[in-house]
Amino acid sequence: MYLNQFLLLSAALFAIGVYGVLARRNGVLVLMSIELILNAVNINLVAFAAFGNQLAGEVFALFVIAVAAAEVGVGLAMILLLYRNRKSIDLTQIDLMRG
């Protein structure tokens, strides 16, 4: 197996996640796309761990998973609050601080 096949898969997932973050208006979907990006990073970390024959990459992939869990918890709480106050989670309508 080549290293590049994993890196290119991860790059493609990352690009799809970037597209999702930019194109979608639903707050929950934006959070899901961020998860996609974090997963792409994890694949990279584990692939390099296997490439360099050491474990640091796997340990950091575990850390990324933990941080992603925390991020989803706080992010969904914020979206719930948004929904409660504005009755909408359309991110294009959240423009109170627009100049």
Binding site: A11, V18, L31, N39, N42, V46, F51, F63, L80
Partner: protein, 163 residues
Amino acid sequence: MVAQNIAFAIMAVTMLVSAVRMVTTRNVVHAALYLVIVLAGAAGIFILLGAEFVGVTQVMVYIGAIVVLFLFGIMLTKGSFGDDDGVDGERRSMAAMVGALVLAVMAAALIDTFRDAELSRAQPSLTADIGDLIFSQYIVPFEAISVLLLAALIGAIVVARGD
């Protein structure tokens, strides 16, 4: 080696198709289910790379907890959008352009750097070794993560609590 490559091809194609469907589907619940397929594929990739513990953690934390959290989030905000209706064309094309550009730059850099570097790991990594590493060399980040999780837990409760 051939079997591994076939497994990789199947998982990679499934993941890419599901990921594209996830960011383009109109139904939010379907998007969450496509996310499950992508996450399961990633777990398979981890196991293919010999990182069993990361793969199992991926299944437990992502598919077991985070996706359920997403489904609850979708359920509690249902009716605001329901379906994420047609994104305006300009936004979508700009986003697609940025995504394509990111992919092109990264692919060019990766192919140029790691032309045909082979993966060398002979056997899967041992969970015991990962545990040793976490609790010796990486003990400080580990403790920081636990404090972060606690802070996120309390923060989420405070933010989402009614009045």
